[in-house]
């Protein structure tokens, strides 16, 4: 039973690694994002910028109070992401995406780093 749990944990870890967005490689995430906190939301993609040294995913997410938050998910460099099959069209405006990641530190900003991206139903978002 213990072995089964361990295997399940290991499988989950590998799955998360595979599904995770390529990490930020241009700079340390610590000064910009709080690794002790997690933020998650489902939003509609407004723009996917596939560039160097960082790609960015822009999403609008509706809040319970009727307001909208414009999230900015920092991703890896286009050069490295393209080696994993990513292209500027992997995510398109209008797509629904769920993210779980580290929130930005500066008050009043809605940046996200080191995020795991999925479709709203939890299915992996892959190139």
């Amino acid at each position: 039973m213990k072995a089964l749990l361990w295997i399940s944990g290991a499988t989950l870890a590998v799955t998360i690694l595979i599904m995770s967005v390529p990490a930020v490689a241009h700079h340390a995430s610590g000064p910009f994002y709080d690794s002790e906190k997690r933020v998650e939301a489902v939003g509609t993609v407004t723009k996917f910028v596939f560039r160097n040294p960082h790609s960015f995913l822009y999403l609008d997410s509706a809040n319970a109070d009727g307001t909208t938050t414009a999230w900015e998910v920092e991703m890896g460099t286009a050069v490295m992401m393209s080696r994993r099959g990513w292209t500027p069209d992997t995510i398109q405006a209008g797509d629904e995406v769920k993210f779980v990641g580290q929130p930005s530190r500066a008050p009043g900003t809605f940046g996200v780093c080191c995020a795991e991206l999925t479709r709203p139903d939890g299915s992996p978002l892959r190139p």
Binding site: A25, H27, A28, N52, P53, H54, S55, V79, R83, A106
Partner: protein, 254 residues
Amino acid sequence: MSLAGGGVVRGSGRCAGLAVCVLFLALFSSDLVPVTTAQTNPDEVPRLTGVWDGGPRARRVNGPNMPWVPGENFPVLNERGLAYQATFDEAIAPKYDCVPSASPALQYDPYMMEVTQWPDRVLFRYEKDDQIRTVWLDGRETPTTEFTVQGFSTGHYEDGALLVETTNFVFDIAGFDDYNGIPSSQQKRVTERYWRDGDDLRMTLTVEDPMFLREPVSYTTRWLPGAEGYQLQAYNCDPFEAGHPRKYLVPKYR
């Protein structure tokens, strides 16, 4: 006999023709073909030409503890270095304005690199920041008044390795290590030794900078052969996206 004599005559004619050709080439081809003065025994020249993978497949990715590992090879800073490090502000790091990475960070960035060996020079082309470094093997002097981001490199082959020495860097507020806010000065001197270890390309890099470091420091790393046919991609650093994360910082200075 006549055949033999004729053969000698014809052979002499060919020798004379060959000598003229060699003389012609020696006199007039210097502008057409790179000239070498530093090339040594071919046995001492390792094959470095090719595309090399410096990504996560080859080595641990760079960060605050890599390649400068606390307790192992992390630099000992002098008072000036400590003072600069203490006042370092992440927002000022030149990379957020697309200023290219330089030695000793450039070689450890997790990207592809292409090496081309010529008789008189070795070209290092880096996918990161679209940088090209030329290592001159022809014995030329380092210019005394030219200072650049990548400095000026000279080198030679020795015992199956390429030895490179680079000086004439510009001051860089994060030029030793931008993850730890350690600057480098115009006195930075970087030496690199490249050699082949089976299929791998290996390098030991040493940095001296008496303006900030108490003693020289080194790291050793490796590259793996790049995928067959891989061509380096253009980096085309985007200044807006490079500086975009600045707004997520809690500012150290206002």
